[in-house]
Symmetry: C2
Subunit: 580 residues, 2 copies
């Protein structure tokens, strides 16, 4: 029995994704939409076309058994899954692969791997499902590292313990979404965390990147599902206590949640679960335009109704996903429960939408209570709408077009102005750079104090300039959203790609504190160098006192220097007179 | 017009609290309950009875205007409001007062004060409402500090900006609960955060201690209400961005939330608000015993109904608060909304309680929609039940009795066993140490994965041994709850009093990371030394390399040394063979 292999160059399994004819058809459809000649699908890379640098390091004998220098493994761990990653793969550019891909079978081997990397000064790149879209799993630039070890946690793939009373489970960090849900299902439980990358992303990766999940309100962020963590750092194992709530100092878990592999590797976590929903009410509500729909979502977000789905699609997104005609915005609204029928919730939500100009189909408020509800809940809807999206994106890249997304969050008071300005800027730069293109928007999450808008760019592209064109668009929209007070990322993480803007977003003093924490947990600076913080600037005092960190930053710098957040008020002259 | 003064030795205003006759009556009631002779009220301390050490430092001229060495100010800032604090005050023991009490009128002066303290090596103790019950606002032991400055943020007491669209406000850190709510009320908004200390605790204090709030489920923790922070540290000002959600690295806010004044002083925060509830449904549901009620609460906590109030009182607590006869447990259940009638929510919750043996009064499910709902919601109920509790507690101390609380959180799977073991241990030690006493319990918060039980101890006491008796009880119950996997604090913070157990609860590596962050933000170690972490152990490497920290720890050590959480798995020998 051979195991299904994943593509080394893009999303998913080798035997999935559109075939050549389907790719041609996609090209024809997009050509019509963009008003260009139909592009031809390019052949994806073959492994024999890839020339990989010889490994620069070799593992000690005790670790050799779990370490691979196989070309398939090394090529497959060279990139994440961003547009930029797939374009580089199509260009047969695998210039900076990891030297070694390690597949530790247990936590003890993770400890040993970090020890080895610390000893030899090799970079250790934690690798979960490999779905990073921000350069979070690639090697630091060639020439800067003595060696690079990609640590694939895929063998830490089990649910170790289930507590059905508290609804929680102890789960290994390398477990991917589908296996995790399959293991919980017999117990009537679900983690109910469905990022778009669900099929090929891991629990540890979700935790390390503050994954957003699929649901619109309330419990959707991985942050809130973490009950306790177990993290291997180069200086020891950190384990927090299983607690439903605690006010004992700053949360240890929150230091590691979102740390993107620079502080340690999540080997286990106790995760809060939910009962699998058995009841569901849903409706697709039409609005004349996105702004009108946003006003309804604004009201819903502050109603205390907490819909599980509250995904507002602009006319373009509604058309693309088959939810609308392209002339109106559509709100995909849903409630789910394992406890109670949802008619009162949906009735009030529908009333609220009607008050804001929404057109609601008849019968929208009735709760469905059957097996189909469990199968076809918001999770089911998500599967249909989104599961194939990354496959299609890869095909679009293969057609030589440009297809990428960016996402953010902003408070309601600034949203309308922000969305208008950012959309205008985005479409302007897309057309200028690419000639033809579209920018569409949906809300992926909504909070009482603001939405998380998610933008999709589709554009014509000069096949040999795809990277440069996207870089120009990305820089323009990132500068705009940062200037308008939004965040450079809502749930895609920072990685290496977002560093130029993240560096200006986060408070400098926080970065200094984080760097000091890293220097304590990872004194050799081996873990994911270049991600989140610049090891060089960890702390000037510390650098002078310790051995130099292994990796100077290779992060591209934005032209503008970081804005200072270290205000220093003018101070009265301080003197001291000791009195007896 | 003279401003109402607060007691320098206990809770609240000088002109409030039970008078002598009322204290006598309380003594008689408690004597019956404890089966002892009625104790006589002792006279509370008078300022002229207190001998304060002469101030050891004097502020520079530029800061003199906001600095006080007045005996009333210094005595009033010597302690928080724990049983231990009030007992020491009754003993006229003010041996270790702050040398200076500073009342900075603005943030710039806070910066200058920290600069001055850094320069002269004085300890800076952030002081909000002064309601700490864990030794969080007192000076480090005499002899260890060159000087101690209590920084009272009481003049930073304004709402600076209100965003009614996003429902958020920018609020200064020193603002106390009642003023804050009064400022928001005209806008139809509320922070809806009502800890028992509400009347005399501040926004900055709530943030610094991860305050729990009054509500039982969902949005109640101050952690979730923080949209952005502004924190003055000795090395500069940290300001985070106003965002409804963000996945950009570990949350900067979460590092400061719960940091108990050791990293900086919260001068401003953007806080998420809610519309003031206008509709309410509530019921008091009786259960044969606490365990039966807990089963109902367990089901409710996982139902997705999210009651605003879900406070289970054991028979003793129900009797004390007037909610029950003393023979049965009572669940105080409530729903509130500014958007919708709550009958469906309450109907389902009541059904759930009946399924678990609850006896529900007729008409419990009807929503009240009137002005009274706003006035008499859960907040109103709380006011009646709890506002006077701290005044009564002080009176009990004055009667020479013992009255104190402790609280924790634990997952549902362990709750029954935990509660039985802890209650047995508590009542055993109380009776052994004090002869007569009661230990009662209520749930203050419930989560889908577990409750937060809150225990109240009332006992006879030898008037001259109150401190020692409580110390023995506290150590016994703390050891037990730590051994049983609970947390040393759910919402009372760590301060200095909980250090011996917190030190064994939090992962060592996290403490090392936190100490490194502190060393970066507060290189002289002036901020609240002895709270949360031991500046001495900040990092052995760092200490050797930097100037010695100003304050060795003066925290009492538990006899048992901290349990190691720095597991170090045995490792295969790591060697490296570089290959070309």
């Amino acid at each position: 029995m051979t195991r299904r292999r994943r593509k080394f160059w893009g999303w998913g399994y080798e035997d999935e994704g559109p075939n050549f004819e389907q790719q041609e058809r996609i090209g024809q459809l997009l050509a019509v939409r963009l008003g260009i000649d139909a592009p031809r699908p390019q052949a994806p890379p073959q492994l024999h076309e890839i020339a990989l640098r010889a490994p620069r390091i070799a593992p000690p004998a005790a670790l050799a058994g779990c370490c691979s220098t196989d070309a398939f493994d090394r090529a497959g761990h060279t990139y994440g899954k961003s547009f930029r990653d797939v374009v580089r793969a199509f260009r047969r550019d695998f210039a900076n692969p990891p030297d070694i891909v390690a597949f530790p079978p247990d936590e003890q081997t993770v400890v040993a791997l970090l020890d080895w990397c610390s000893t030899v000064g090799a970079a250790a790149i934690p690798y979960g499902g490999g779905s990073s879209v921000v350069g979070g799993v690639e090697a630091p630039s060639a020439g800067l590292a003595r060696g690079v070890v990609s640590i694939d946690l895929g063998r830490l793939d089990r649910v170790l313990e289930i507590d059905t009373v508290s609804r929680a489970a102890r789960i290994q960090g390398g477990m991917l979404g589908p296996a995790l849900e399959a293991a919980l299902k017999p117990h009537g439980l679900t983690l109910r965390h469905f990022p778009q990358s669900f099929e090929f992303s891991s629990l540890g990766g979700w935790i390390a990147t503050r994954s957003g999940g699929h649901y619109a309100t309330l419990y959707t962020h991985i942050d809130d599902f973490v009950e306790a963590l177990r993290v291997v750092t180069p200086t020891g194992i950190v384990e927090s206590r299983r607690l439903p709530g605690s006010g004992a100092g700053p949360s240890p878990d929150r230091l590691f949640i979102g740390s993107e592999g620079i502080l340690g590797i999540v080997t286990e976590a106790w995760m809060r679960l939910q009962h699998r929903p058995t009841m569901r009410a849903s409706a697709a509500i039409a609005f004349s335009d996105f702004t009108t729909g946003a006003a309804a979502v604004h009201a819903l977000s502050q109603s205390g109704l907490y819909p599980s789905n509250c995904r507002l699609l602009d006319p373009g997104e509604a058309f693309t996903s088959g939810a609308g005609s392209g002339s109106e915005a559509v709100l995909v609204l849903g409630f789910e429960s394992a406890d109670h029928a949802l008619d009162p919730w949906m009735e009030r939500a529908v009333e609220c939408c009607r008050d804001h100009g929404g057109r609601v189909p008849e019968g929208a408020t009735r709760t469905r209570r059957d097996d189909a509800a469990a199968r076809e809940g918001a999770a089911g809807a998500w599967r249909h709408a989104f599961l194939n999206a990354p496959y299609v994106r890869d095909a679009v890249v293969g057609l030589g077009l440009l297809s990428e997304t960016f996402e953010t969050a902003i408070t309601w008071d600034r949203f309308a102005e922000f969305h208008a300005a950012l959309s205008a800027r985005a479409i302007d730069v897309v057309r200028r750079v690419c000639g033809a293109g579209t920018v569409t928007c949906r809300f992926t999450h909504v909070y009482p104090d603001g939405p998380a808008p998610y933008y999709t760019v589709l554009a014509a592209s000069a096949p040999d300039r795809q990277l440069e064109q996207w870089a120009e668009i990305k820089a323009a929209v990132s500068e705009t959203l940062l200037a308008l007070g939004a965040t450079i990322t809502h749930h895609h993480a920072v990685g290496r790609d977002h560093r130029p803007w993240y560096d200006r977003q986060r408070p400098d003093a926080f970065a200094a504190a984080l760097a000091a924490a890293k220097a304590t947990l990872d004194p050799k600076g081996i873990l994911n160098p270049g991600v989140l913080i610049d090891p060089r600037s960890a702390s000037r005092r510390e650098r002078k006192e310790r051995s130099p960190t292994a990796y100077p930053s290779d992060t591209p710098r934005a032209p503008r220097r970081r804005r200072s957040r270290m205000d220093r008020a003018s101070q009265p002259e301080a003197t001291c007179a000791a009195v007896p």
